[in-house]
């Protein structure tokens, strides 16, 4: 199964991420987001970041989760290399997500070729079929 694919969008970047379950699709959406800025496959995985986010619904959860990647880049110069142990829980009308990001601090050995300004709700879709499909437009 493909992890993610990009779709034409006039001004910004739009992708679909796939997974056998919601967790896997979220994890692939994170890799798709990172792929707009650096080659995540080439990032060493010596640094770990534990992620915890919340959302009023799955869309807000997805937004908050992907925003972590931009925040960690801007504030810590952290480059995501892999996403592990994604756990999504629903408590009443509220969602929580925990995950483990592995990657490396930015240094000259890495090339950053793009910028993601923000994760948006524009045309966002979450389809919980098989495979689970997430569609996201990010502001670049």
């Amino acid at each position: 199964m493909k992890q993610y694919e990009f779709i034409a969008h006039t001004a910004d970047a739009k992708f679909r991420a796939f997974g056998r379950d919601l967790e896997e699709a979220f994890s692939n959406a994170a890799l798709a987001t990172a792929s707009l800025m650096w080659d995540w496959k080439k990032v060493e995985k010596g640094t770990r970041c534990e992620i915890k986010v919340e959302g009023k619904d799955l869309k807000q959860l997805l937004c908050s989760f992907l925003e972590e990647i931009i925040y960690l880049l801007d504030s810590e110069m952290f480059l995501l290399g892999s996403v592990d142990k994604v756990k999504i829980k629903k408590k009443g009308n509220h969602f929580t997500l925990e995950a483990l990001f592995k990657g490396d601090k930015y240094s000259d050995k890495y090339k950053i070729f793009g910028e993601v300004k923000a994760i948006t709700y524009n045309e966002m879709e979450i389809k919980e079929d098989r495979p689970v499909t997430l569609q996201v437009v990010v502001d670049v």
């Binding site: 034409a8 931009i70 925040y71 504030s75 930015y106 090339k111 910028e115 948006t120 524009n122 502001d139």
Partner: protein, 473 residues
């Protein structure tokens, strides 16, 4: 969707369904074809449904699909009954343009243009992951957010005259630092004084044509061949985070059920959350003003070093392209304060407005409209008619027509650099991929965009400039 042609450059979506006012699009038949292909018109219609909207929801000639509001959207809201929306400002708060003049001509710098560009590239931090000045403390960042460009001038970046020639004098007084999230602060600290990436750039330009000699003189533009400097950047991660934070806070407070688009989320202007957003947005606006103030200072330093002098490198003006403000406008014949959102639009105050610097008050404010990488940019002047036509607003740029994905498929950065060089334009970038994404073919025809502005009368042509050297973030 019903779209009524009013005249050659004006179309209208009549008030229907939930719309509280009509929506009006200033465009040409040719530009309209692009606009129809994406969600621009539907988004304009959504804006027209918002509470307290005044007169008409406007769409500028360079419009394209945005989030919530279209890019190129202008809307004014009643201060009591109306709303303020982070999606009506956009993620890159106070993305804007600063223009400096020089007393150099194209001939003067011809031999040294490569050196100038290379040195600017060294002095001005750009690209993702590049830090700005030495790591700031939280207290210094607070001062930057409160004082804006004033902070920069007090700290040795540029002069007081620069402030006189900056929208809002480089400082929105309503800014409040304490509402910024920890994340916004964390993202803002390492990035002050950086150009960023994406469509942001810094150009050494030459005046290629003057349309209005008299107004050009007032702006300090004297002859074809004169060298100008254009700086296009915004509030970086700090501003992006403010937008994301307040979209979420407003969602959590007010819910998003019934909204056709989640980024249309808004708060009553007078509500606590509405005020907090406005004050946080103002802090981000100030951060961006300070950013451009610092970059302008570094560019002057480079000219001093390479050319021997930066004398005459006065600021022409600095304009915001993404902002919400409280302004007085005439509604139904009466002057009243409204909350105006300009998202991908430039203010275009005409002669007499007290908000514009006294040196320009007799002619109107300078409007700076950057083209896409390697193409022409334009300087226009605000008009009195714009008040009635668009709440004193006009276009802000070329506007994309092709996705970055498609641009990457079609163009190669190295090839674009060679093509530009063959036209005598030097290019420096942190990323080939970024260069390909910003290929001029991926943008609307800027010449057509400014023609519409001129013909409609919302911003009149003063001068055309073309690049000599381009630094892309």
């Amino acid at each position: 969707m019903e779209l009524k042609k009013i005249n050659e450059y004006t179309w209208e979506i009549p008030k229907q369904g939930e719309m509280r006012v009509p929506a009006r699009i200033y465009t040409s038949s040719r530009l309209l074809e692009n606009v129809k292909r994406d969600l621009t018109l539907r988004q304009a219609k959504n804006v027209a449904c918002l509470r307290g909207i005044q007169r008409i929801a406007y769409v500028m000639p360079d419009a394209h699909q945005g989030y919530g509001f279209p890019i190129g959207g202008v809307a004014a809201f009643d201060m009591d009954a109306g709303v303020i929306s982070p999606g009506g400002v956009g993620y890159d708060i106070n993305c804007g343009v600063r223009l400096l003049k020089t007393d150099y001509s194209e001939k003067d710098i011809h031999e040294k243009r490569k050196e100038l560009l290379a040195e600017i590239f060294r002095e001005v931090p750009a690209g993702v992951g590049k830090g700005g000045i030495t790591r700031l403390s939280r207290d210094v960042l607070k001062e930057v957010c409160i004082k804006g460009a004033e902070w920069a001038v007090e700290n040795g970046y540029g002069s007081k005259e620069d402030l006189d020639r900056t929208e809002e004098r480089g400082r929105m007084k309503e800014a409040e630092f304490s509402h910024l999230s920890h994340r916004a602060v964390e993202r803002g600290i390492p990035q002050l004084g950086t150009l960023g990436a994406g469509n942001h750039f810094l150009e050494i330009q030459k005046v290629s044509h003057i349309y209005d000699q008299q107004v050009a003189q007032v702006f300090g533009i004297h002859a074809a061949g004169q060298i100008l400097i254009m700086i296009h950047c915004g509030s970086r991660g700090l501003g992006h985070q403010v937008a994301s934070d307040y979209i979420r806070l407003m969602e959590n407070r007010f819910g998003f059920k019934g909204l056709p688009d989640r980024e249309l989320i808004h708060a009553p202007i007078r509500s606590e959350l509405g005020q907090e957003y406005y004050q946080s947005m103002s802090a981000a606006v100030n951060y961006a003003f300070s950013n451009r103030q610092m970059i302008a200072h570094w560019v002057r330093n480079v000219f001093e070093k390479i050319m021997g002098s930066s004398k005459g490198m006065d600021q022409i003006y600095d304009v915001c392209h993404n902002v919400a403000k409280f302004e007085n406008h005439k509604i139904d014949g009466e002057l009243k304060e409204v909350c105006i959102h300009r998202k991908g639009a430039t203010r275009s105050f005409g002669p007499g407005r007290e908000e514009i610097p006294s040196i320009y008050r007799s002619v109107g404010q300078p409007i700076i409209i950057p083209g896409s990488m390697g193409t022409a940019s334009y300087i226009l002047v605000g008009t009195s008619e714009a008040e009635e036509l668009s709440f004193s607003s006009t276009a802000h740029g070329a506007g994309r027509v092709m996705s970055r994905h498609e641009a990457l498929r079609r163009f190669r950065g190295e090839q674009i650099k060679r093509e530009l060089e063959s036209k005598g334009i030097e290019l420096k970038s942190t990323s080939w991929k970024g260069v390909a994404e910003e290929a001029s073919q991926a943008y609307k025809d800027i010449d057509e965009v400014v023609k519409v502005s001129h013909e409609v009368g919302i911003g009149k042509l003063v001068a055309k400039v073309t690049p000599v050297g381009v630094m892309k973030g």
